[in-house]
């Protein structure tokens, strides 16, 4: 098990709490009728996001999914701008055009969330090709879920990745269900990890709710990839507490199952670990939690007071130049 400093511990905990608080606030705002459309919450998957991002350098890239709020926050996104985008406001990350499913900050290495399951994986190949040509030693983490692993896009991308030896770490967050389709009907985390071998790359399955386990596995993969040895795959076994989207009635799983996974809450587990190791005190934890809540509250206020986009600019931004 890797060792981390108190500083890092605080940082990771803060990020996970921010993700949790953000998701919960987004949910509240949605139920209060303030958010248009739907959202895909990643409550319960915080460790997978934070642990993976912790393995990256600031100028590395990520490609995210429709359930990618955690990835964005862990990448260091501005919470205000994220919340504003949720609210569809003009000063959100995407100027109100993208919403929850398409948050991006290309300039800071966040190549975007994606509304198509598996939509980002083929792009990851291209990013990898480009990074290799640019030769600056940067890597990409391409996040996707068990649902995407079943697409043709996944397969083609795995092939191409290995053919072109792209500097990409593929992180599969297996949360046990595509939408309602249980992954264990065709595979599981272990078997998904063994896909990698078919494509000539290393693969590993880890407990996705154990932040440090994730961090260790992804760090190893990043190191491998960054050294020019090609792509690799990490499968994080995890669970989402909420339904697929806001309209999910959870008919496909049992309350017992949900409760069981809740008892494996990644945040609580991390807190236990750090307190056991005397890295953090209860006081520290309380502070961090409070901090996260405050940050999210500020984001909410920011978003709610932000202006809506100007309708007359509707057709702008389709083609370059603006």
């Amino acid at each position: 098990m890797m060792k981390i400093t108190k500083e890092r511990a605080l940082y990771y905990l803060l990020q996970m709490c921010q993700i949790r608080a953000f998701e919960e606030q987004a949910e509240k705002s949605y139920m209060a009728g303030k958010i248009h459309g739907t959202m895909h919450l990643s409550i319960g998957q915080e460790a997978s996001a934070v642990g993976s991002l912790a393995a990256l350098e600031p100028d590395d890239y990520i490609l995210s999914t429709h359930r990618g709020h955690g990835h964005c926050i862990a990448k260091g996104a501005d919470l205000n701008l994220m919340m504003a985008e949720f609210y569809g406001k003009a000063n959100g990350y995407c100027r109100g055009r993208g919403g929850s499913m398409h948050i991006a900050d290309v300039a800071h290495g966040n190549l975007g969330a994606n509304g198509v399951v598996g939509g980002g994986i083929p792009m990851a190949v291209g990013v990898g090709i480009g990074l290799k040509m640019q030769n600056e030693g940067k890597v990409l983490i391409s996040f996707f879920g068990d649902g995407a692993a079943s697409t043709g896009a996944f397969h083609e991308s795995m092939e191409l990745s290995t053919i072109f030896q792209v500097p990409v770490v593929y992180v599969c967050e297996n949360n046990q269900y595509a939408m309602s389709f249980p992954v264990n009907k065709w595979t599981n985390s272990q078997r998904l990890a063994s896909f990698a071998a078919c494509y000539g790359m290393p693969g590993k399955a880890v407990d996705g709710n154990d932040l440090l386990a994730v961090l260790e596995a992804v760090s190893e993969a990043v190191k491998y990839t960054r050294s020019g040895k090609g792509p690799s795959l990490v499968v994080c076994d995890t669970y989402r507490w909420r339904g697929h989207s806001k309209s999910d009635r959870n008919r496909y799983r049992t309350q017992e199952e949900i409760d069981e996974w809740k008892s494996k809450d990644p945040i609580e587990r991390f807190i236990d670990y750090t307190m056991n190791k005397k890295l953090l005190t209860e006081h520290d934890v309380e502070n961090v939690k409070a901090q996260a809540i405050e940050d999210i509250e500020n984001a909410r206020l920011f978003a709610e007071s932000s202006p809506d986009p100007d309708v007359t600019t509707l057709e702008e931004g389709v083609y370059a130049p603006w």
Binding site: C94, A104, V116, M123, A124, V125, V127, L131, E159
Partner: protein, 329 residues
């Protein structure tokens, strides 16, 4: 005297010259490397640029399109080749949902400067799965540009321009045009996207045609000239964005218009053109209905004769022009 090369050579020259000029440009597609490309378009390019910039792939249309999109997203300028336009069906998720939309979706804070080249069209006996033309599907997507060049001169200029354009461009070549020859300047040059070309001036009727149908229309025009019928042929060159102005001015002048394209008539690009004309100032100058001559309502058949009659040919164009000019419609 400008030298003459084939349409195919012009495509190769455009790619080569751009790759020499800009290190960010690379080519990715099936069999583009060692094989030299299914139609030999990229023959010799692997030797020139090496495997780092001429990327061969297995059968992965979606992968190719996605790779181009991703690379473009972080600043490269890829040219992706899909061997037959028929297979863009497999690539369309990445083209339509991703490449076309990333810029807008991310609030204008992303750019996808890629070109997707693909040969379309029938006449080689390749039948149902290797002969189609889907330009109208991509014209329908905001965020994409769609280019359909006709001559060797146009194809070189337009391809260089497309590579330099910061948007995803669907660049549609025609198999039967690959062998056609024309005068092409040696040095690199560009032709602006969104600008039509009047290939032949005339008084009596306007033909708006795309790709190989421009060639056939010009041939028809020569025949008709012998009978004193003077046909104007307008080649839009870029389908999206469309140079409406040139087309409208031509129709205003002649009062009669025939639209000719290879793709199936129903739901084809001709419907879009007809509506554009009808909605414009040109409406008040029409002496006859707007007529479309296009592909028949069938998949492209195998038998040579059947294949021939499934799409407009020179004699069909001549006949339709006579009908229109003689006010039989």
């Amino acid at each position: 005297m400008v030298r003459e090369i084939t349409y195919l050579e012009a495509v190769r020259e455009a790619m080569t010259q751009e790759m020499e000029r800009d290190k960010r440009v690379f080519l990715i597609g099936e069999d583009v490397g060692k094989y030299g490309g299914a139609f030999q378009v990229s023959f010799g390019m692997l030797e020139k640029f090496g495997p780092e910039r001429i990327l061969d792939t297995p059968i992965t249309e979606l992968g190719i399109a996605g790779a181009a999109t991703g690379a473009a997203l972080i600043g490269m300028r890829p040219i992706a080749e899909i061997m037959f336009m028929d297979f863009t069906t497999l690539a369309s998720e990445q083209l339509v949902n991703q490449a076309a939309k990333l810029r807008f979706m991310f609030g204008g804070r992303a750019t996808v400067p890629m070109v997707l080249r693909t040969p379309a069209g029938s006449g080689t006996g390749a039948a149902e799965h290797h002969s189609q033309s889907f330009e109208n599907w991509f014209v329908h997507v905001p965020g994409l540009k769609v280019v359909m060049p006709t001559t060797p001169y146009d194809v070189k200029g337009l391809l260089i321009e497309s590579i330099r354009d910061d948007n995803p461009v669907i660049f549609i070549e025609h198999k039967l045009l690959y062998k056609t020859k024309g005068a092409v300047p040696e040095e690199p040059y560009t032709i602006p996207l969104g600008k039509a070309d009047v290939k032949r001036e005339g008084r009596d009727l306007t033909i708006v045609a795309t790709s190989i149908m421009v060639q056939r229309s010009l041939e028809a025009a020569e025949q008709l000239a012998k009978d004193g019928i003077d046909v104007e042929v307008v080649d839009p060159r870029t389908l999206r964005p469309l140079d409406t102005e040139t087309i409208v001015q031509s129709v205003k002048k002649t009062g009669k218009v025939l639209i000719v394209h290879e793709a199936v008539k129903t739901g084809g690009f001709g419907g879009e053109l007809a509506a554009v004309i009808a909605e414009s100032e040109a409406f008040g100058y029409l002496e006859a209905p707007i007529i479309r001559l296009a592909g028949r309502e069938v998949p492209i058949p195998y038998n040579r004769e059947l294949e021939y009659h499934a799409v407009p040919q020179v004699e069909n164009i001549v006949e339709k022009v006579r009908e229109l000019v003689g006010l039989k419609v």
